[in-house]
Subunit: 434 residues, 2 copies
């Protein structure tokens, strides 16, 4: 990998998400050599991916070049690569661009979509965890509409403009709301020769309420907002199969659709090489102690979504969202220096600042630790928090201007099919000659 030798100990960080970047910032100009690895050359602000998918924001506005974050840091190296394996015996990571020895390793690889072993759904659905996936969803929505124009078969046309989202967490809820606004404000105008009232947005939730990590009050408010926007919220239903055309469920409900967007679960994005005893089954997260040290490996740490730190308050580990990742990254930045200097480390305590979700224009739900509210003010709070969490002045300014423009004009201009999404052909058209 062409990383020079250094007199300082080498810390290798795998992953430039919320946790990895928070850690990297803390290690700026400290007496260590840091090597940051990621498969993308940018940091993704995942909470706004759904706005890229629905054309409200450009990809560049919610991503930030990692090299720009770290370019002034001394003794700091970034490499764009896929890490395939960890060799804990020789203290090396093995990547597609070569091997690298570490003194300390930090695994911050985040999470990936969990299909719960259903390969058919994995093959036929589309997820929304990365920028390329969001752009694929954007293209797919528009391509479906272009296709729907071409068919005389009503059944087929309706399936093309039926969007089914599986998973009633924040991602599914926010995407459903944005799709509904896209339907009402944009698609209606852009496709005057289609009957847009036939466009369906179905949100399927396995449990008895959406946003089930939030308060019941917020769940109820969010569901009401979605219904008012025209989204069908289907609860207590599990999707059992999807062949690219027909969704079957455990209750007998059947949906015909060309598009299933799967947001129903996440699991840790583990790297090969750790023993099974260090991993939590099913969720694929790495067991760590209160210092984010991987059990059995004092010089290996895991932070963020991938880390499973069980406490009395969080027997299932911390929620797989940005805040615990950022807080763990920051603390580890201090702890790893302490550890190297043989000082005592500080245990991690999660400071839960609350959670929130937006459903659309003037509509959001916010749960603070002791207070729940929703409506216009909640929506302003949501915008304010997300705007100020973005990295970089220009991204903040561009996102703010886009939101202002979209709000005033009821518009979303990001509707270019720049990277057509290659999907197995849903249908073969009969070409009418007129």
């Amino acid at each position: 990998m062409n990383i020079p030798q250094s007199d300082y100990p080498r810390i290798v960080i795998v992953g430039g998400g919320f946790a990895g970047i928070a850690l990297a910032k803390k290690l700026k100009n400290k007496p260590v050599q840091v090597v940051l690895l990621d498969k993308h050359n940018y940091h993704t602000f995942q909470p706004l991916l759904y706005q890229v998918a629905t054309g409200g924001l450009e990809a560049g506005s919610i991503a930030y070049p990692i090299r720009k974050v770290v370019h002034e840091y001394k003794n700091f190296y970034f490499r764009l690569c896929h890490v395939n394996e960890i060799n804990t015996k020789s203290n090396k990571i093995i990547a597609d661009i070569g091997e690298l020895r570490y003194d300390y390793l930090v695994i911050a690889t985040g999470s990936k979509t969990n299909y719960f072993g259903n390969k058919e759904i994995e093959r036929n659905s589309i997820a929304m965890k990365t920028i390329p996936q969001s752009l694929n969803i954007r293209s797919l929505i528009l391509e479906n509409f272009e296709q729907a124009l071409l068919t005389d078969d009503e059944f087929e046309r309706n399936a093309l403009i039926n969007f089914v989202l599986v998973g009633g967490g924040p991602t599914g809820v926010e995407l459903a709301g944005a799709l509904a606004e896209m339907k009402n404000a944009i698609l209606q105008k852009d496709y005057p020769d289609l009957d847009i009232s036939k466009m369906q947005i179905n949100l399927i939730q396995s449990g008895d309420r959406i946003l089930n990590t939030m308060s019941e009050k917020s769940s109820a408010a969010a569901e009401k907002y979605l219904k008012n926007l025209g989204v069908n919220v289907l609860k207590n239903i599990r999707v059992t199969s999807y062949d690219g055309r027909t969704i079957s469920t455990n209750t007998g409900v059947v949906l015909e659709t060309a598009t299933l967007i799967w947001t129903a679960g996440v699991q840790g994005a583990i790297v090969n090489g750790l023993p099974a005893s260090s991993l939590m089954e099913k969720v694929e997260r790495i067991k760590v102690n209160e210092y984010n040290q991987v059990l059995g490996f004092p010089n290996i740490f895991a932070i963020g979504d991938i880390a499973m730190m069980t406490t009395e308050e969080f027997p299932q580990g911390h929620p797989m969202v940005a805040q615990p990742a950022i807080q763990q990254g920051k603390l580890l930045g201090e702890n790893i220096i302490r550890f190297i200097q043989k000082q005592e480390m500080k245990p991690f305590h999660y400071n839960d600042k609350g959670s929130m979700a937006t459903i659309g224009r003037n509509k959001a739900v916010v749960d603070l630790p002791n207070y729940h509210f929703h409506g216009v003010f909640a929506w302003f709070v949501w915008m304010f928090v997300h705007l100020f969490s973005l990295i970089g002045f220009k991204n903040k300014a561009v996102v703010f201007l886009n939101w202002l423009y979209n709000y005033i004009r009821f518009d979303r201009e990001g509707r270019l099919i720049v990277r057509p999404y290659k999907k197995k052909s849903f249908t073969s058209f009969t070409f009418d000659e007129i």
Copy 2:
């Protein structure tokens, strides 16, 4: 294609570039049915493609959804498709989504890259005529730098960061200038572990001056600007071959490079079905009369780059740039209605408003019909003209803000490798273990 029958005559426009959009706007709510076809669902503002390629602007800022241009027009249909053939006997076009009868056909398919028959160069080089191509160049520049970090072989590393642009027209000149600014302001900071002074930008021109459609004064000024920015301008040289690694030329000059960007020529993007007698050989443009009517076909018109209208002043046809396309589109909008109503059409006269090119920060050259100037003021004129030529308020605002930010901060934030460019592997690395 599911276009309804209409009592009005049907005009089919193939292509939503400058000419096609100018025509479409003129036909708004006229007593005709209009069907606009394009292979993209957006209009591209080609003069700024080089800024997308070098990370100064996002793709969405220089493209505009075609459906948004026409969504309020009555009796107007857009279809996303590739047109494969024209059948002039049955008055039909044959596309990948079906066939369509026309009463009047307007070919506005523009131009494509001309490799002058050299298949090897076509295979190994990259062009910059479309947004996807610009994004590919952007990814390629960054991917080359990431690769260059990984090799110990100096020869290989230098080839990876040697950028060769063939063609000294506005596209080559503007891209060379932007690359030089990227080198000085960005790449130097982003790749502190590379010796950026080894990065080369070579601009190869076959003739004895660059910008040879502009005044000699402007050519000289542009060349001086480029040299001051560190670009090697090589004149009177023709590239004869490029195998993906080594460029050979007619003068014996040999260049080793992983990247050849070809901007040395354009030709008409003709559609099959017109007889050879209607076409101008080599340049592949369609011969038209002074009303843009295709010779031999009274109900077929061609406008913009694809149209070859020879006049005393323009014996080789009009320049293949935006202005003649826009002017022809506008005039044809009036003429085609006159033609349908059996009135006399007006002949086309090109109003040459001048030409300009920018080389970088504070550096541009402008040729007005009777006056040539360059420098800071020329650069402001260039920015003003390009800003106000963009379609849509938001694109104007976003581009303006980006330029302001880039100017103040010497920055270009669009450096995400979102769509990795798959190139035949230039090299195989030896993986060093440290």
